[in-house]
């Protein structure tokens, strides 16, 4: 089920109604959360519910075993069992064909011809990268003594499958979400209002910014032979806003819906394009994933406590893995590697924290260059795009049949977004209204945003980009 599908607008109120009617019965509320989450996921493909269920059962028991084991070695064995199971699941469904193909291609580069009879027809289960990381962190945190396992299976299963964030995050830590699921939730006007506001802004980002930009971006990136340098530059900048609108939009809707259930999810984006360095960008972009990699990859590797060479290596490896997490394609690996190199360069060159408009602009350009690899359909196309960007400017493409509407709407959408984020980033303490006007102004502001969504949005039930990861 998609957040932007009509059926979801029937599903959500119904689930909320049942959930809050059962407010005095925590167990029943969690059963409702669990069942509704499985319905939400099963709407896409019920066969893969087995995977979530298995992952839940495995980590539920592994968690208890780790906690109950006296010996550190036994604890470690159980933790390894969880790691092997979750990464095995992810590896098979997401990376099996990629590794087989890469292996065959590298052999052919060495002059060996291998018949490709190893690849399988595998469907990538939606959200597998997210929920495997979530359950994995649960077991690791118990092993580290940071978390006590729960013995309430229903609550644990509801935590793993909590539908607003199940398929595209934020990747929640058990230490944040699980205690909330284990305790009574309170129905408050404040939470509902704040949830609704986030949902509305999330839909603006998705339908007005991301889906609008996608029209132009897809037209260009799916026909690279027919376009030139300036067009690629425009399409790449549009893609920067497309992916931000798409993913931050999804996260906001997820956080907003969680609030309607009385639950708080972590913030996933913090106006990343106002970052003055690549390092800062990664503190503002996909925060739940960045912190996951920091806690479970970078720090175990030694983090910045090791010698400089090793520290830079840790940084690079973490980003390389992060790139691979995003997709089973060399374009993502290179995207991760470039980000890693950026951070190494920043660490070596700049000693002080950077700020100011020039650094913001520079960071935006650097990040945009990486998006070329992220969006290109193949490495060879990415290379062609770069070549054209620097050598063959050409005439900018304005849209199919000279129809300028796609780029114009995208520019309008980006303008509204940037204006709003500028205000929040730099002028949050200005234009503060007196209390008696605040409620009316908020109603009006969000009413206008709803109007803009319907007036300028793209209503094609398009999927969220991060579903594929």
């Amino acid at each position: 089920m998609l957040f932007n599908s009509a059926i979801f607008f029937l599903f959500l109120p119904l689930v909320l109604l049942l959930y809050w009617v059962a407010q005095r019965n925590l167990k029943l509320q969690n059963v409702i959360l669990l069942v509704s989450s499985y319905v939400f996921y099963g709407w896409w493909d019920y066969r893969f519910l087995m995977l979530i269920a298995t992952s839940t059962i495995v980590d539920y028991f592994v968690g208890i075993q780790i906690y109950n084991s006296k010996e550190t070695a036994t604890k470690k064995k159980w933790m390894l069992a969880s790691i092997i199971f979750n990464l095995g699941l992810l590896g098979f469904f997401k990376y099996y064909n990629f590794f087989v193909n890469s292996w065959i291609e590298s052999l052919s580069l060495l002059g060996y011809t291998v018949q490709n009879s190893w690849t399988l027809n595998i469907i990538l289960p939606v959200g597998i990268s997210f929920y495997t990381f979530q359950t994995l962190s649960y077991s690791i945190d118990i092993k580290r003594g940071k978390l006590k396992p729960t013995t309430n299976f229903i609550s644990f299963a509801a935590f793993v499958s909590f539908f607003p964030q199940l398929v595209a995050g934020p990747i929640e830590r058990a230490s944040n979400l699980l205690p909330q699921i284990l305790t009574s939730r309170v129905f408050t006007k404040r939470k509902i209002a704040s949830g609704v506001k986030l949902i509305i802004w999330g839909f603006f980002l998705k339908l007005v910014v991301a889906d609008r930009a996608a029209i132009y971006v897809d037209a260009v990136y799916n026909n690279v032979e027919n376009h030139d340098g300036i067009t690629f530059m425009v399409a790449t900048v549009f893609f920067a806003f497309q992916i931000y609108g798409d993913f931050a939009g999804y996260s906001l809707i997820a956080i907003g819906i969680a609030k309607l259930f009385g639950l708080e999810l972590m913030v996933n984006f913090n106006r990343p394009y106002f970052a003055a360095s690549v390092g800062e960008f990664w503190k503002r972009w996909h925060i739940s994933l960045s912190t996951w990699f920091k806690d479970y990859v970078y720090i175990p590797l030694g983090g910045n406590k090791s010698k400089k060479g090793r520290y830079l290596f840790n940084l690079f490896i973490t980003f390389l893995i992060s790139g691979l997490w995003h997709g089973a394609n060399w374009t993502f690996v290179i995207w991760g590697a470039i980000n890693g190199l950026y951070l190494i360069a920043e660490t070596l060159i700049f000693k002080k924290k950077r700020s100011g408009l020039i650094n913001i602009a520079l960071t935006f350009v650097l990040i945009n260059l990486t998006w070329v690899f992220f969006r290109a359909n193949s490495l060879s196309e990415a290379v062609l795009i770069f070549k054209d960007m620097f050598t063959n400017f050409g005439i900018p493409y304005i849209g199919g049949r000279d129809d300028i509407t796609a780029p114009v709407y995208t520019v309008i959408a980006i303008f509204i977004l940037v204006l709003s984020e500028l205000k929040r980033e730099f002028f949050n303490n200005y234009l503060v209204l007196p209390k008696y006007l605040k409620a009316t102004a908020t109603h009006l502001r969000y009413g206008i945003i709803v109007f803009i969504i319907f007036y300028l949005g793209v209503f094609g039930n398009s999927q969220f980009i991060y579903f594929q990861f």
Partner: protein, 312 residues
């Protein structure tokens, strides 16, 4: 809890009222802006739906727009004519447009330009129906069956005026500042085909927007189109306008089905496809499926004899 429920209910109601008021007010502005268009595709369809009193109406896709010259038809018949062709649109749109037109005005003759692939399955035919949304407010009952063909919840979204006028503002501004040339709906193409262009078209043919399977909904719509004209006592002729390259139409199931329906319903069908006067005549075409102005003039001078035959 009870107090909170009351507060939340009140909040939701207040916000719903705010949304409705904003949608109503801005919706009026959006409608005014939309109807203020004097040129462009929406200006043409608005004219057909809300104003036209023309005796002869041409309906069809881009082939209609580019091939039928009302000036020649009017001069020869002495009756008013309007070209209501809509670029990129297919049978669903044309049938909906015809229904909205006939609700208000009864022309003497409708010339329906038939594309040979009209009855083939095509998703674009459904997705492009958004061009009808701005007319939903005034034509709910007429448009509902068409708009709900693929989306059950369409009418829920269309409750919002903002959605009815979705993505129209740039069109409004674009044609305000750069008016589109049209002569009573006809949009001439000036350039001629060249052998080089033809080679390029043959090597890179445009992507097909249909799959070669008959869509039962389209078959029913074509029958509805015919019965609607009969119900309003309007004469109807089908015309397949010329194309550059000869084709084997007997293997085109969509085309043969249309021919069979026309025959069964007693609708005259004039087929200009494969006419030697036009085949391989590069100077008459802009691309392999669109006549240029010279070709359109030749075609219309020929067509008026047929049109005159069907007028009183």
């Amino acid at each position: 809890m009870t107090t909170e429920i009351k507060r939340v209910t009140l909040l939701i109601l207040k916000f719903a009222v705010v949304i409705l008021v904003i949608d109503f007010c801005f919706g009026i502005v959006a409608k005014k802006l939309f109807l203020s268009q004097e040129t462009g595709k929406f200006a043409r369809s608005s004219y057909v739906i809300n104003q036209s009193k023309d005796a002869i109406m041409v309906i069809g896709s881009s082939h209609a727009i580019r091939h039928y010259k009302p000036s020649i038809i009017e001069k020869s018949t002495g009756k008013t004519c309007y070209n209501a062709g809509a670029e990129g649109q297919q049978l669903i749109y044309h049938t909906a447009l015809q229904k909205m037109l006939l609700k208000r005005h009864r022309p003497e003759l409708i010339v329906f330009n038939i594309d040979e692939e009209f009855l083939f399955k095509s998703d674009i035919a459904f997705s492009r129906l958004s061009d009808l949304h701005p007319y939903y407010g005034d034509n709910k009952a007429t448009l509902n069956p068409f708009l709900k063909l693929k989306s059950k919840y369409k009418d829920l979204k269309l409750l919002f005026k903002a959605y009815q006028y979705n993505s129209t503002i740039v069109h409004v501004l674009k044609y305000k500042f750069a008016p589109q040339i049209a002569q009573k709906g006809y949009r001439p193409l000036k350039e001629e085909m060249t052998p080089e262009k033809l080679v390029s078209y043959t090597q890179h043919p445009p992507k097909k927007i249909y799959t070669e399977q008959i869509e039962p909904i389209f078959v029913q719509l074509l029958k509805d189109f015919i019965s609607e004209t009969k119900k309003h006592n309007v004469k109807l002729i089908f015309v397949s306008s010329p194309k550059l390259i000869e084709r084997d139409l007997s293997k085109n199931e969509s085309f043969t089905t249309i021919q069979a329906i026309a025959k069964a319903e007693g609708i005259p069908f004039y087929n200009y496809l494969n006419k030697p006067d036009y085949i391989n005549k590069l100077d008459l075409f802009w691309d392999p499926s669109h006549l240029n102005d010279k070709g359109a003039t030749l075609f219309n001078n020929n067509l008026v004899k047929i049109i005159n035959k069907h007028l009183d």
